[in-house]
């Protein structure tokens, strides 16, 4: 990055900077930690209509900013990460008012590195969903539906025409996309970080399962959950990954991180890379815009000298069914801990333990959660166990084997769409139920969770509706760094635009910084 061009950037454009750029600005004294924190909080206040936040920790953030040195990064966390003394709700009535007495490991790691937490973000209740529409605090709105570009397309009232963020980490994606935060943590079980990342035009990384600790991340599916990282640049995602990765004594499913250099390589020869295009990822419903981007980027790799090859992951089509069964089963088990006794909501009914449990769970869980629990219990019945749960586990092995075979044949990364299309309008999205939508929206993302592989979505362009389209790169297990290296190359070539929220007073300054930015990246 050229220091001189960064120095000439006006203060108002600070929010659109990457972590690297803003750290430089802090070091150069062009902005102070408290000023920056104030800007972020003001931006959050300006964009409250997005409903991305459940809790805004303004006071503690400003306090932390005052105490911090120049390493400040403001961050937001999906509200299923336990934060000490800060309410953690999972967007559910079950946990409204629940204040954890501890920080999740990844949260503690961020705080130890000088990150300042400005808020807890909105999500689908207990991370179940692909829209961020089914939480108890209401749906999150996609910031890109508030740009002039989108407004020009639409003939309707903006209040009825807005698009969803995707889910379940929609609030986190919206916060990063709307420049309220430099980084956000989400969680990814079947695509919950990559899906909203793609629909909101941000970089969203799902690290290899076992690389990041899940301690303190309220579990959905223990064998698939990972904390996800959302930033506005691949370089920033790598920076955060480096901080968060590593074995945790409190999470026995973590492994030692591979040794990682301080940053991604500046110079990298794409001709060394072989990119696989899995043909099964052209699924029914793939939009023309997304298909065009997939093709465009495949071309890009090929023209730059990388080997690009069609491959097959034969069990792809069935992966979503397998995911559905395993997810419901593990959910049924995990949600059993919510009985009202030790924490969370407790019903007033006290005629018997069972009556209290049943009423508490009826009152605390929305219908999406309840239905998944019931489905899971069905699949786990003794008479069904082998037919569904074990069968799904067998299928899972076949899906993981598909990936192993492809990588063994010399492929370095796979290039696929992340979602079927750009973000749907909320009014369209809610025409089908959560289960249906999840089955549709997670098709490209959940096979990765089944195999435990790392994957990242990189925004590539805007659709004809002015909404972001992202593409997914999938890497080999524990090769997150290599994956991000390729992702950074891709990011530098696609030139995804910066967001201009409608009615921004500093729009002109942001325009200038877009031009500067596109020259400074990669130099």
């Amino acid at each position: 990055m050229s220091a001189s061009s960064a120095a000439s950037r006006p203060a108002a454009a600070m929010l659109g900077m990457s972590i690297r750029e803003v750290s430089q600005a802090l070091r150069d004294g062009r902005v102070s930690a408290t000023e920056l924190c104030r800007k972020c909080i003001n931006q959050i206040q300006r964009t409250l209509y997005l409903n991305a936040f459940i809790t805004i920790t303004e006071e503690t953030a400003m306090e932390q900013a005052q105490r911090t040195d120049n390493r400040l990064r403001t961050g937001v966390l999906k509200d299923n990460f336990c934060t000490e003394n800060i309410e953690t709700t999972c967007a559910s009535s079950m946990l409204k008012g629940y204040v954890p007495p501890f920080n999740a490991t990844v949260v503690q790691k961020l705080l130890d590195q000088g990150a300042v937490l400005v808020g807890k973000t909105n999500l689908d209740e207990f991370a179940m969903g692909a829209g961020s529409t089914d939480g108890v605090f209401g749906p999150v709105r996609n910031p890109w539906s508030y740009t002039s570009l989108y407004r020009e397309q639409s003939t309707e009232d903006p209040d009825s025409d807005w698009a969803i963020t995707g889910g379940s980490s929609g609030g986190s994606a919206a916060a990063v996309a709307s420049l309220s935060s430099f980084l956000a943590l989400g969680s990814d079980t079947g695509g919950s970080t990559r899906n909203p990342g793609s629909l909101c035009g941000v970089v969203a990384l799902k690290p290899t399962y076992s690389l990041l600790s899940r301690h303190g991340l309220i579990p959905l599916v223990n064998s698939m959950d990972v904390p996800g990282i959302m930033t506005r640049s691949v370089h920033d995602a790598a920076t955060v990954l480096r901080i968060l990765q590593g074995r945790d004594e409190r999470d026995s499913t973590t492994v030692q991180a591979p040794s990682t250099p301080p940053s991604l390589p500046e110079h990298f020869d794409i001709r060394d890379i072989c990119v696989g295009i899995p043909k099964e990822y052209h699924a029914p419903g793939l939009s023309k815009d997304t298909l065009a981007q997939w093709s465009r980027v495949a071309d890009m790799f090929e023209q730059a000298g990388a080997r690009v090859q069609e491959v097959s992951l034969p069990h792809t089509q069935h992966s979503i069914v397998c995911y559905h069964v395993l997810c419901c089963c593990e959910v049924a088990s995990n949600m059993a801990c919510f009985d009202g006794l030790e924490y969370g909501h407790c019903s007033k009914v006290d005629s018997s333990t069972d009556a209290m449990y049943a009423t508490t769970r009826h009152e605390g869980f929305n219908s999406v959660v309840r239905r998944r629990i019931l489905s899971g219990n069905y699949f786990l019945l003794k008479s069904n166990y082998k037919r569904y749960f074990v069968k799904a586990q067998q299928m899972r092995r076949l899906i993981a084997e598909d990936f192993k075979n492809v990588f063994r044949s010399g492929i370095d990364v796979l290039l696929t769409p992340t979602t079927l299309s750009d973000a749907a309008r909320y009014s369209d999205f809610i025409q089908e139920d959560n289960q249906t939508r999840s089955a549709q929206e997670d098709v490209f993302t959940q096979p990765v969770n089944m195999a435990g592989l790392p994957a990242v979505t990189v925004p590539t362009a805007l659709s004809h509706r002015g909404l972001p389209i992202g593409l997914q790169l999938i890497g080999q297990t524990l090769q997150d760094w290599k994956l991000l290296t390729v992702a950074q190359w891709m990011e530098q070539k696609v030139n995804f635009p910066i967001i201009h929220l409608h009615g921004e007073s500093n729009e002109r300054e942001l325009n200038r910084s877009v031009r500067e930015r596109t020259h400074t990246i990669g130099s």
């Binding site: 699924a283 089509q317 069964v325 030790e342 049943a358 009423t359 239905r371 019945l381 067998q394 435990g452």
Partner: protein
């Protein structure tokens, strides 16, 4: 063993076009269709430009359709509600379960004979087990504070060993509950 509600619900449950059947719809085409198949709901309606596609990227969907399975209705509504201590809530809830089961039945088209079930993707990894020594704790007070009903160092529960009320009584109980 049917309970009345399930019987009533299940007789009504045979939609001609299951909504969640991604894989059960007949058409493979990716074009906009008037019949409202969800695939095409948000497909770009503009004419595509004539730019050359990368030849490695398939131009049409590659999935094969799967025939719908017939399935006995769930006769376990009451049993599941007792096991899960969660209620279906409404006929819609039961419908949802049937859809979920029907969706899950697609698993059975794949032959998995001789395939080992996967418990964890970490099965080949040697995971770290810490020493069996207490290194932290002494936080009883903090934890007790999170609960609604406690007495000294105990969590307090209503009397146990009382079976959950019958389904009709349960519905009444839930209706009167706080929310």
């Amino acid at each position: 063993m049917f309970c009345k509600c399930a019987a009533r619900a299940s007789r009504a449950l045979r939609p001609a076009h299951p909504r969640c059947g991604v894989l059960t719809l007949p058409a493979l085409s990716n074009t906009v269709s008037g019949s409202g198949t969800f695939w095409s709901r948000w497909t770009c309606k503009r004419e595509s430009s004539n730019s050359a596609w990368n030849s490695k990227v398939p131009q049409a969907p590659t999935w094969e359709p799967i025939a719908e399975n017939q399935l006995p209705p769930p006769d376990l509504v009451d049993k599941l509600e007792r096991l899960a201590l969660v209620d279906f809530g409404s006929k819609e809830g039961v419908d949802c379960l049937e859809k979920a089961i029907r969706f899950a039945d697609q698993l059975h088209v794949i032959n998995t004979d001789g395939v080992e079930p996967t418990d964890s993707v970490l099965e080949d990894r040697e995971l770290y087990l810490r020493d069996d020594m207490v290194t932290e704790g002494e936080c009883a007070e903090e934890l007790l504070q999170l609960a609604k009903h406690t007495v000294e160092e105990y969590f307090v529960a209503p009397p146990g060993n009382i079976p959950l009320p019958k389904r009709e009584e349960r519905s009444a109980m839930l209706k009167h509950s706080e929310f």
